[in-house]
Structures are given as C-alpha cells and as structure tokens.
C-alpha cells in the first residue's frame, strides 16, 4: 500500500537516517550502526507495506510490526515520528530523563507494538500475534525484524521450528543480516552459514535480497504471503552503518556516538 502523505522510500530513508544520527549524537547513545543497516527496510515497510494508521494505532485489523532487535531504537522512533504517530520534536527527548523514548524500544511509544531489548523475544510474540490474527480472520499480517546476532538465541529456533508447522503464512520475518554482532563478526562469533539453507530446511519460504535495494525490498515484502501455508523469511543482506562511510562495517559503531564534527560529516553523507 502507498500512503500519499508519506515520501518515497528513498527520501523517507534519508530523513530517518538523519534523525537517528542526530538523536544518537545528542543522547550520546549506542547502536547507530544497526540503525543505519535497517533504515531502508523500515522505509519500505512503513511507506509501502504496513497497514497501520497513526490515527488509529490500536485498530484490531492492523498489520503488526515487531522489532525484535530492540536496541535499534533511534531509527524506529524516527520512523514512527515521520509517519505521524507523534511529532518530530519529541525525538529530541530520546534517552533523556523522564522520556518515554528509552534506549531499547518501548511500547509506551505510540506505534510500538512490544517492548524488546533482550534478544530472542520478538519472534515468539510475533507468532502469537499471527496465530491470533489468523483465528480472527481479519487478514492482518505480522512482520518481525531480527538481527543476525540474535539468531544465536535458542528461543528463535523454537519459533522457527513452530511457524512452518502451523502454516503461518501471515508471518514474515526479516533478518537484518549486517554480518556484525556485538563483539565481532557473525562468522567469527557464531557462524550462521549456511543461513538460508537452515531456514529452508525448517520449512520457510526464503527470499534473499540486498537489504538496501528499495525496489527489491518493496517487491518481496509486498508479496507476503509469498507462499500459502508457509511463513516467509526475507534475509536482507545489509551493511552495518550503511550510508556513512566511516561507520560502514565497523564494529565500534555498535557502541560509539559521533562527535560534533563526525555528526556533521555523517549528515552530509546521508544527504541531510
């Protein structure tokens, strides 16, 4: 679906990257790298795919989006603000005393379905929502965004086993596969390969795409359910820190916040 009041995905992604950079800089917060890697995914989801309405955020028939990599909040809050769930000025309170905008995603924020932050929680919750949606027959779809690092968690594999068994074709998992987790590369810490084959063996409809190719994202996500009687996983190959040259593929930007000078450079690079 296209919401006429929202910009094209490319422009939307540019805006949310800029907001997230400013927020992380102002709050001296972490996790900008994982925010930037999923920016294009969120841009396509919220401008083209999700049936959600800021005027009626609790509509029973809405699509659900569960952010399981709950540390990537700056970009999530920026996305919701750009969609009109709350005003852009509220982003200035990110991580400030008394703010609802906590460093791990909070359901106190309008438009956020669930609070996460401990990894491996989002997928089971999304499965429950998909079961309830199917039972209700309202046609809602549930999208759940995982990080690659959190695929170390056994709870995810319980869910990965469960969803195809129960033919949850209204469920779509997206993995932000940026190849870097908190203490090293995924390949070094706990290798996921062959990743797509694992999902296939568990019975999922697997789509593997460039997670920064907006057209490819829109094509794949608008096709959900991609196969009847099967859940879909979109393995989105991404770059941690995407869009800011000195952050790309650098582990340290899981933790650091940019200085004033680096912020200016980063904003220039993302076109803000």
């Amino acid at each position: 679906m296209t919401r006429p009041n929202l910009p094209e995905p490319k422009e939307f992604a540019r805006r949310i990257r800029a907001h997230a950079l400013r927020m992380v800089h102002a709050a001296k917060a972490s996790h900008i790298g994982g925010c930037l890697s999923m920016a294009d995914i969120l841009a396509v989801l919220y401008t083209r795919i999700l049936r959600v309405d800021p005027a009626e955020p609790q509509s029973p028939s809405r699509d659900r989006f569960v952010l399981s990599k709950g540390h990537a909040t700056a970009i999530m809050y920026a996305t919701l603000a750009e969609c009109g769930f709350f005003s852009l000025t509220e982003l200035d309170t990110y991580c400030r005393d008394g703010s609802i905008f906590t460093g791990h995603v909070s359901h106190a924020v309008p438009g956020v379905e669930v609070s996460t932050g401990s990894l491996g929680h989002g997928l089971p919750i999304a499965i429950g929502m998909a079961l309830a949606a199917r039972h209700a027959g309202a046609g809602s779809r549930v999208f759940c965004l995982l990080s690659d690092g959190e695929c170390d968690e056994g709870s995810n594999w319980e869910g990965i086993l469960f969803a195809p068994h129960h033919k949850l074709d209204n469920l779509c998992v997206i993995v932000d596969f940026n190849k870097i987790q908190s203490f090293g590369s995924v390949a070094e810490v706990l290798n996921l390969d062959p990743f797509a084959e694992k999902w296939k063996a568990f019975g999922w409809q697997v789509e593997e795409i460039d997670g920064h190719d907006l057209a490819a994202l829109e094509h794949v996500l608008s096709g959900v359910p991609a196969a009847s009687n099967r859940p879909t996983v979109v393995i989105a190959h991404t770059v941690k820190g995407k869009g800011v040259s000195f952050m790309e593929n650098k582990l340290e930007w899981h933790y650091r916040s940019p200085s004033d000078e680096l912020l200016a450079q980063a904003l220039a690079e993302v076109g803000a």
Binding site: P60, H107, E113, V114, S115, T116, G117, S118, G120, H121, L123, P124, I125, A126, I127, G128, M129, A130, L131, A132, A133, H135, A136, G154, S155, E158, G159, L161, F162
Partner: protein, 307 residues
C-alpha cells in the same frame, strides 16, 4: 487438582470465546477434554517453553486470555525472562499454570520438584499468585484468574487432594480451615492438610490451634492476615516451598515493623544446594524435610516453649 482445574477452565471457556490454552507438550490424560471441546483455542506448542510464553504474550496482546500449562519449573523458571518482559511488563493477560507444586512429583527427582517457583513468580511485576490448598480453592482460583485481566500464576499440586474446608467465599482472603486463637498456622497449598493433623494433635495436648489457608500470596491481603492472627501468641507458616520468597517471607515481612509483633515460626522445605535428593513419594519427602504432622507438632511446641 488438575482435573478440577481443567473442568473449571472448560466452563470458563464455554462462557468466554477469548480464552485459549497452550501447553508445553505436557498434560496427558488431563487436557484432552479442553482440546476436544475447543480445538481452535488449544495448542500444544511443543517442548519449548520460551516460545510458549512469547506466543502466549502475542496472543494476549491481540485481545485474548491465554493459559499456559506445564510442570512446575518449566512454564516458570525456564521462560522467566519471557514472563518478566513479554507478559508482565506489557500487562498481558497470560495465566501461568504449573502442576507439581513442591514435592508433588516425588520420585521423579529434583528437576521436577518446584520449590522456588511461588517466590520467583511473586517477584514479577503486576502478577497475581495463587497457591490453592484443595480442589475448592482451585475452582475459585481458576474462575477468578479467567476474568481478572491480569498476569497470574496458579500453582497446582497433582491429583486426589481432598477438600479441606467449607466453601470458598473470597479467594483473596485467608480461609479459616480450623478455628483456634492461641497458635495460628498460616498454610499455603495442600500441605495445609498436615497443619490440620498437627492442630488436632496439639488440641489433644490442650492447645488452641487454628489453621488458615492463604492461597492468594499476591496481592497479600495484609489486613485480613492481621485479623486472622490477632489473638495469637505464636504464628506458624507452613508451605511446600523454600522459606525464602514464600509465605514465611511475606508474613515475617508483614509483621517486621510491629512493636508488639508475635513471633513467626517458618516451616518449609530446606534449600537443597549441593545436596542430591532421594527418591520417594511426596509424603516420604515431606517427612524427610521434617514436615510430618508429628514433626510439625514438635516444632510448634519448641517455639511455644521459647516464647
């Protein structure tokens, strides 16, 4: 207790189409009537409690009331963080039902003994905790949590437990099983039957001993507890649980600030760290934990002598 639970839940589900039941591949010969009657609201999730708790939260956040069922430590400790974050933090309408309280799975060994669950569940934010002593309280608890709209924990023993008192009027309040004023035994769970035995024995020795079932551990009705022990010169707590975090901790904490507090003697299961447990029936294991009726009598007399 299991049978009473599933009968009560089935009744509630007949009246409320939003009630679901999930199990972690346990409940053989217990859950089948519910599954047969409500096939689209029953799900065996498999041996995967973290997934079960998360799924329950997701269904509950979609407007349903979800019961999850398994043995003792599995739907509680195994998925504790899911209960904390996904259920309780969101105020999701999920009911955790654990069968096999305390030593109910006797000879199955330590992994199947639920000894810390009530305390750990009580520490979770916003959850209500029920430890019924008999089938009448199980029925009342199931009805209550089915409509409370809050996260809840229901701790069940197994089967064949007798009713210990008259009808339950208000499950949230202490229920008097035996009148008596000098010593009041506050008991939670089916071990209350041993309190009744001990009270009978002590009565034969000239003591006036009351027994009160405290099945609602959270929220604890503090005023009603105070009222139940108002004339007591000794309070005894009895639970099939370690003392830390259970009924004793609650009651001792309640009276800690009172200048004229009556002494509180806590009777429960000793912590087992580093020691292996023996095989044995529930009854034998309780006896070995110094919780036979005779041992309870002796320990109360010791406490009375120390006053």
């Amino acid at each position: 207790m299991r049978t009473t639970f599933i009968e009560s839940l089935s009744q509630a589900a007949s009246e409320n189409p939003d009630i679901w039941l999930l199990c972690g591949d346990l409940g053989y010969s217990v859950l089948e009537p519910f599954a047969a009657k409500f096939p689209d609201r029953y799900l065996n999730v498999g041996v995967a409690e973290q997934n079960m708790a998360g799924i329950a939260a997701g269904i509950a956040l979609s407007g349903k009331t979800v019961f999850i069922y398994s043995i003792g430590n599995f739907p509680t400790l195994r998925c504790l963080e899911q209960l904390r974050n996904d259920v309780c933090y969101h105020g999701a309408d999920v009911k955790v039902v654990a069968v096999g309280a305390g030593y109910a799975y006797g000879s199955q060994g330590y992994t199947h003994h639920a000894l810390e669950d009530a305390g750990i569940m009580s520490m979770l934010p916003g959850i209500e905790v029920f430890v019924p002593c008999d089938p009448m309280e199980v029925r009342a608890a199931t009805r209550l949590i089915a409509t409370s709209g809050k996260p809840s924990y229901l701790r069940l023993s197994r089967q064949g437990e007798p009713n210990l008192g008259t009808a339950v009027t208000d499950l949230r309040k202490p229920r008097v099983l035996r009148e008596g004023r000098e010593v009041v035994i506050l008991a939670s769970g089916p071990i209350a039957s041993r309190a009744l035995e001990a009270a009978g024995e002590l009565a034969g020795r000239g003591r006036d001993v009351g027994v009160v079932s405290v099945s609602c551990l959270k929220p604890l009705d503090e005023a009603a507890i105070r009222d139940a022990v108002r004339d007591a010169s000794l309070i005894v707590t009895l639970e099939e649980h370690i003392l830390r975090g259970g009924l004793f901790s609650l009651v001792a904490g309640l009276f800690a600030g009172d200048a004229r507090r009556p002494p509180v003697t806590g009777l429960g299961i000793p912590e087992q760290g580093g020691k292996t447990s023996s095989a044995g029936s529930r009854e034998a294991l309780l006896d070995a934990a110094d919780l036979s009726a005779q041992a309870i009598v002796a320990r109360i007399e010791q406490s009375l002598a120390k006053r």
